[in-house]
Amino acid sequence: MPRLIASKLVELVVVLFVVTLLSFLLLSIVPGNPELQILGENATPESVAELREELGLDDPLPARYARWLGDVLQGDLGRSNRLNQNVTDTLKDKIPVTLELAFLAIFFGVLLAIPLGILSAWRAGGATDRLVTAISFGVLSLPSFLLAIGLLIIFAVQLKWLPAAPAWVPFTEAPLQNLKNVILPVSAMALGEVAVLTRVLRSDMIETLQSDFIRAARAKGMTNRYILFRHALPGSLMSMLTLIGLQVAGAMTGALVIEQIFGLPGIGTMLIIAISTRDLVLVQGTVLVIAASYVVVNFVVDLSYQLADPRLRRG
């Protein structure tokens, strides 16, 4: 077991190293002069020289990387010249928004997928099952931004039940208002999760329901409900749990697009503004933070999955 954790940790460190290297190199692949891009066309020669000095652009690449990495490890992601703010501080404001969306989407995704998966597996091939399967197949062909637009058209433009571009209020200040504002974005993200998770749970459940211990339980005269929830469900959750883990990492990048559509001030909207305004230092910091958290979440999921399932440890 310690060997497994150790080798996984080495892998994590290597991937994180590559993540930092690529994020660092992003700034160096900018065609032309990055300092002009950062300062704008009206930069004076003095300010250019000052920035070159500050970024250490005259040093060799490895030395620059080492210094940059040192700063990053101390939580300093550089300074955004356009916002005139530290990138770290800017990100601190935005991350909670993205995390809230991702968390709620996964939560409601799982909450809906479990009953739907059980329902369609219980009478596999029946009318309910065919309906659920057909709908989830359709939803899987809808990228989340199309789903978001569909929901916008129905609930914001046509029915006018919910705001299309709500002003953001933090959950801690006005919980109800906050939740009302995130219904549409969270639904757009959660529906895709529901479709995927339902399908996986359904096929695992069907397999479990055909196994001998279920037949034995039936023969002993246990009730259907007991068999379904106490025997079949726990045995069918493994693939779904793995997938939930993968979805957590996916939801963070998925939130990028959804935030933008609903104008929510998360990390995704900020990345997009940073790219449009060519705020390169901010782009670099944001890409680094998103990529690194994605990698770390995947690592934690992968490890806990392997710890939970003894069969996988040998592989």
Binding site: V14, L27, V157, V287, N298
Partner: protein, 291 residues
């Protein structure tokens, strides 16, 4: 896309009767739709359509079935049908190139590393694992932000991002194939490594990769659409489905037509690709089971 493959394997096992019926209406309807999209993309320039970029302020945001504009017009009065065809060219080009490059390059690298094994295999797989653990969309946005978007840049980045998945797939099937009789037999009669890789293993590996690639086509179209929707795709006036959907979204208060038509085109294309992939997978699995 990976999620789609995980599903319904167990669910199919019970319905043998259904399978013998052939591919079904949905499969053929999907094939017709994909055929139309392909034809539109390939022969788009020859079709008697209006200029996709001609601005016509008098005719803006016309509804569907308007006089002279079958699918209506956008905010600038441009013909939606012509722009859909132009967008189809982009989607088809990027997805077909990405998947073909992925299958060929990834297939060759994966088969070769799986065949030889050893240290080089471990190195290649380590690189593949690192690349696969990256959030592709973020990396893509980062590169586009720094270099600027163009058809070339986007296609290139897509290809680079696609290859690792195919390498992993090809290596896995190679390891399985190497134990099969005909491969062992070719080895025994003294086939060279080159012949074994290119003539014995590759044809089989490629067949598996193509099924996977069919499902991946939809994924590439979605990814390109997402990038374009966010405004970082191929710059205007070039129409892409993603940029049309974004324009449709900003015109929602005045007209639903542009959003619905362009989103519909993308949705039906992805749905069709999924249905075709699903149909082929069932048929293929069925044949495998019979052997």
């Amino acid at each position: 896309m990976a999620s789609i493959q995980l599903s319904t394997v167990a669910a199919d096992s019970g319905s043998t009767a259904k399978r013998t019926k052939g591919m079904g209406v949905l499969f053929w309807a999907s094939s017709v739709w994909i055929g139309l999209i392909l034809l539109a993309a390939v022969f788009g320039d020859l079709l008697p359509l209006k200029d996709a970029n001609r601005i016509n302020p008098a005719d803006k945001l016309l509804p569907i079935f308007s006089d002279g504009y079958i699918l209506g017009t956008d905010q600038l009065g441009r013909d939606i049908l012509s722009r859909l065809v132009q967008g189809a060219q982009v989607s088809v080009f990027i997805s077909v190139v990405t998947v073909t490059v992925g299958i060929l390059v990834g297939g060759l690298i994966g088969t070769t590393t799986g065949f030889f094994g050893g240290r080089s295999e471990r190195l290649v797989m380590a690189i593949v694992n690192v690349m696969l653990s990256f959030p592709a969309l973020v990396l893509l946005l980062g590169v586009v932000a720094m270099v600027g978007a163009s058809l070339k840049v986007i296609t290139l980045v897509f290809c680079v991002l696609a290859i690792p998945g195919y390498i992993r797939f090809a290596r896995a099937s190679t390891l399985v194939l190497m134990k099969r009789e005909w491969v062992l037999a070719s080895r025994m009669i003294g086939a060279t490594n080159r012949r074994l890789i290119l003539r014995v293993l590759m044809p089989d590996v490629l067949t598996t990769l193509i099924t996977f690639g069919l499902l991946a086509l939809g994924g590439v179209i979605v990814a390109e659409g997402t990038i374009a929707f966010l405004g970082f795709g191929i710059p205007p006036p070039q129409a892409t489905w993603g940029s049309m959907i974004a324009e449709g979204k900003s015109a929602l208060d005045e007209s639903l037509n542009l959003a619905l038509v362009s989103a519909g085109a993308m949705f039906f294309t992805i749905l069709s690709l999924n249905l075709i992939g699903d149909g082929l997978r069932r048929k293929y699995q069925h044949r495998d089971a019979q052997l």
